[in-house]
């Protein structure tokens, strides 16, 4: 059984446990054992790098050090924010010798730059898709829009994943399970991210525009790969409806949930129950 490290981050343990559930279900189907990094800590995500650069590197660096100590050579970070922070910390320590020495002297953190960090799309492309190709039984034949958010592809120079503007990787995966991805303008627009609690008005406005364009383009679902985006677009829906002055019922589904449906996994094993906006059409 292939063993791959798993960094859930705070979201996958809480607000987006359905995301975690669908990932584990898919992984089990293809015989991959996801090993959670023991004693992991917060990655710093949307706030720390604005306040303290050193801490914003130290937090992910500790996670990577733990992964190395636990003999993991490859880890999946399904949350786009975690993926982003881990990659950036790895990059900064690679180029900044001073910071590297400092971290080692203070915390005995010695980062291994060989650990490869995968986001969920890379993980699906590399380990899952080839093995489930034959198992697709219910084609996910819906017009969808893929929403990448800001963190999955930026900063491009460090992550080097997909195209900076107008990325394609999720659209390609969706096409393969029979969906009809629609070209739209808000693929990488900001959803408001961590402002969900402190400035809900901003989040509602930004998400409102995203949902409006998705509906106008004729999509029946928004496919996401980031728990932050999902929660903003999904859990804030009543406020968004108020902002748009109409009731919208377009569901926001994780890419792993969509793939799971296509290969015949039951909705309850994919955590559909937890979505605020229920996908009634499926």
């Amino acid at each position: 059984m292939t063993q791959i490290g798993f960094f859930p981050g705070c979201s996958l343990k809480g607000t987006s446990s359905e995301y975690a559930q669908s990932i584990f279900t898919l992984s089990k189907m293809v015989g991959i054992n996801l090993v959670e990094i023991e004693d992991w800590n917060c990655c710093g995500a949307s706030t720390v790098h604005n306040i303290n650069n050193k801490l914003s590197v130290t937090l992910p660096a500790r996670i990577l050090t733990l992964a190395k100590q636990q003999k993991l050579t490859e880890i999946v970070a399904p949350c786009a924010a975690c993926y982003n922070r881990l990659c950036i910390a790895q990059h900064q320590l690679k180029i900044n010798k001073f910071l590297r020495n400092q971290l080692f002297e203070t915390f005995q953190i010695c980062i291994d730059n060989n650990i490869s960090i995968l986001n969920i799309i890379q993980y699906i492309e590399k380990y899952i898709f080839e093995k489930i190709k034959e198992k697709i039984i219910y084609f996910f034949k819906y017009p969808v829009v893929c929403y990448y958010g800001c963190l999955l592809v930026r900063p491009h120079k460090i992550l080097n994943f997909d195209r900076l503007e107008d990325p394609q990787s999720m659209d390609n995966l969706m096409k393969k399970i029979g969906a009809l991805p629609i070209d739209w303008a808000y693929k990488t627009e900001c959803c408001g991210g961590g402002f969900s609690v402190s400035r809900t008005d901003i989040v509602v406005k930004l998400c409102g525009e995203i949902i409006k364009d998705a509906i106008n383009k004729g999509a029946e679902a928004i496919i996401v790969a980031c728990p932050m985006c999902q929660s903003n677009l999904d859990t804030r829906r009543s406020c968004i409806n108020n902002y748009l002055h109409k009731k919208t019922n377009i569901p926001v589904i994780y890419i792993t949930q969509a793939i799971g449906l296509a290969i015949g996994i039951k909705k309850k094993d994919l955590g559909f129950k937890k979505l605020f906006v229920k996908p009634t059409f499926i």
């Binding site: 900076l164 303008a185 808000y186």
Partner: protein
């Protein structure tokens, strides 16, 4: 016995502040063979030059060493002084104690020592110098102009009017270049084609101009005055002598869906086509990559309809050789396409166009017959956003230089739009308005004050497509960086002007330098702007750097003047620094063994085999022979010669050895 004179120049303070010139002159005077030595504040001045003349006359000098600036600066001056007093100029040598010594060292004792060493080395060399006499080579008074845009046309006409033959070579089926594609020109708004086409006709009808269109350069050999250029005349599949330009062929061609290069992909053209109605020459050509007959082997409809039987499917590319004395390069520029810009949608949206495409939309001969219409649905746009500096002045993603022409043509576009759609609104996003030029600033002011064009200082971050409209999101930096959104119908990008796709390959064929952007490099940025480092090859127009029409014409006429200047004399004086095979009395004739190694390695094909025959015509010995007019004095054969039978005149092995030994002692 040599009688050498040494002259040490202070160059004001340039040399004297670091090197003790007096001491150098004093020490030099004690060297063997030196009969006169002096230092002076400015050796190149008139009194300085007189000191040299007097010393040569008084002491009967057989050699002169001048310790001064680089020989690139004043070698010619001092050699001329020697020649005036009757001393062979090649007996004068320069010791470079400025660039090679005072400018690169601190004021230390060693600097003076180094200057003295340099002087001593030159003294030892000059002792072995022999008088040399320049060669004269005839000039082939035909000019080749590569590229038939406005710069190439102007150069050709200027040289032809000067009375010399010009051969104009153009890659496309017609001359005219970029200027033929433009609608109106700034700052006068006069029609581009109306002022260009008379010039094109003049080229076609001028008795001194020979036009090769649909032709490319294969290779270039030779040197100033005597170039030999191989030109590939691509098969047009038309017999130009029979063709009456009736146009029946292209109306009948069934393969009509090829994107028109001339209209920047905004319309279609048949496989047999004339790029535009006023094309010179007006004969059509067959685009073989898109012709049904050439791709599938069946069709020949054009041949059936051609009333004169001019269509020739069997025609093949023809390689011709042209001998010429000078070459002018005027290959122009390209622009970046919309697909270069990720933030503007990778070229996905049809209503985001380049400035060149807008020119075609605004042109009376364009795909919309001069009406401004969106490419996607042919509607008249009510709101247009122009974005200048798309890719220019952008170190991170584009090119770092300013494309220079965009500020002005963007103003022009906005004015043309306003003229054609009076109720339309146009915005220009800009970084700076660079309107330096005669009447340029007034032109931009007119756009703002009379035409009401809205200038927004800031960049556009991205463009979203929404309900067939384009949401242009930018920032207004004059409103405290406030983000703004404009709902536009059409977006025009003033994309960066870049070098031509094949400019680097062409530069390599011509052995001329080019910069990191692929633009050809001039010999001196200020004082030799139309010359290249290779003598006899000149630059005109925007193959050197983006230029507007007036500037292109200026440089084209400048290059033409240089060619006329070259052609004004019948012979070219060439430096006598050439390789020579040593000659000996019979029966040895030469130490050359006739191994012929040098023949193969000579980059200028200047060496051939020479057979020495006795009175009865029997070959006694075969040795190498160097053609002095072809030899460029590179010295490659000297280094290769196994029997040390070749010497470079003025730089013989003996001279170099003596110089090196003097440096080492």
């Amino acid at each position: 016995m040599s009688k050498i004179g040494v002259f040490v120049c202070h160059c004001g303070e340039n040399i004297a502040s670091i090197v003790d010139c007096e001491k150098v002159a004093m020490r030099a005077s004690k060297l063997s063979g030196v009969v006169f030595s002096v230092d002076y504040k400015y050796m190149c001045s008139d009194p300085g030059q007189n000191k040299i003349k007097e010393a040569v006359k008084k002491h009967g000098l057989t050699g002169v060493v001048i310790a001064a600036c680089s020989p690139r600066m004043h070698e010619y001056t001092f050699r001329k002084v020697c020649a005036e007093i009757g001393l062979n100029p090649y007996l004068c040598e320069i010791a470079n104690v400025r660039e090679h010594c005072s400018w690169v060292h601190e004021k230390v004792e060693f600097a003076t020592q180094k200057a003295f060493n340099l002087v001593r080395a030159r003294i030892e060399k000059v002792k072995n110098n022999l008088p040399l006499y320049p060669y004269k080579v005839p000039i082939n008074k035909i000019a080749i102009v590569i590229g038939g845009g406005i710069a190439g046309i102007q150069s050709s006409i200027d040289i032809a009017n000067g009375g010399y033959k010009v051969i104009l070579i153009e890659r496309e089926p017609s001359i005219g270049g970029r200027m033929a594609q433009l609608s109106e020109t700034f700052p006068t708004l006069d029609c581009s084609q109306c002022i260009l086409t008379p010039r094109m006709v003049e080229v076609a009808q001028h008795p001194n101009i020979m036009l090769y269109t649909y032709s490319e350069i294969e290779s270039v050999d030779g040197f100033i005055g005597n170039f030999s250029v191989q030109v590939r005349k691509k098969a047009k599949s038309i017999d130009e002598k029979k063709c009456t330009t009736c146009g029946l062929c292209y109306t009948k061609c069934p393969m009509k869906k090829n994107l028109s290069e001339f209209n920047q992909g905004l319309s279609y053209r048949p496989a047999i086509y004339v790029p535009f109605p006023q094309a010179i020459p007006n004969n059509p050509v067959i685009d073989r990559n898109n012709c049904i007959f050439f791709q599938k082997g069946k069709c020949k409809i054009c041949q059936k309809f051609c009333p004169t039987g001019a269509i020739d499917f069997e025609q093949i590319d023809e390689i011709i050789e042209i001998k010429a004395g000078a070459i002018i390069l005027s290959t122009g520029f390209d622009i970046k396409n919309v697909d270069f810009f990720p933030e503007y949608g990778y070229g996905k949206c049809k209503d985001i166009i380049t400035g060149m495409q807008f020119e075609r939309l605004a042109s009376a001969s364009g795909p919309t017959i001069g009406e401004i219409r969106r490419p996607s649905d042919c509607k008249v746009p009510k709101k247009v956003v122009f974005i200048s500096c798309a890719g220019s002045r952008d170190c991170a993603k584009g090119i770092s230089y300013c494309s220079k022409i965009c500020c002005m043509y963007t103003v022009k576009h906005a004015m043309l739009y306003k003229n054609k759609v009076p109720e339309g609104i146009s915005y220009i996003f800009y970084m700076d308005i660079r309107a330096a030029g005669k009447n340029y600033e007034e032109f931009t002011r007119r756009a703002v004050e009379e035409y009401g064009i809205k200038y927004v200082r800031g960049r556009v971050s991205n463009i979203l497509l929404k309900n067939e409209k384009l949401i242009v999101r930018g920032v207004d930096t004059l409103l405290n960086g406030k983000p703004i959104e404009i709902l536009a119908d059409l977006v025009v990008l003033a994309t960066a002007a870049v070098s031509c796709k094949y400019s680097e390959i062409l530069a390599q064929k011509l052995h001329i330098p080019y910069d990191i952007y692929g633009f050809f490099t001039e010999a001196h940025p200020k004082l030799k702007p139309v010359e290249t480092n290779t003598a006899g090859i000149f630059l005109a127009g925007s193959c050197q750097f983006p230029k507007d029409i007036p500037e292109s014409v200026v440089s084209a006429s400048g290059a033409a003047a240089k060619v006329l200047c070259l052609f004004s004399s019948d012979e070219l004086v060439r430096e006598p620094i050439v390789a020579k095979i040593n000659k000996m009395p019979p029966p040895l004739f030469s130490t050359c063994m006739g191994c012929e190694l040098c023949i193969g390695i000579c980059p200028y094909k200047a060496i051939s085999k020479e057979e020495i025959k006795d009175d009865n015509g029997y070959v006694i010995k075969s040795i190498a022979h160097i053609n002095s007019t072809l030899c460029q004095g590179c010295g490659t054969c000297v280094a290769f010669c196994k029997s040390k039978s070749i010497d470079l005149e003025g730089y013989s092995n003996k001279q170099i050895y003596e110089e090196v030994i003097a440096l080492l002692n």
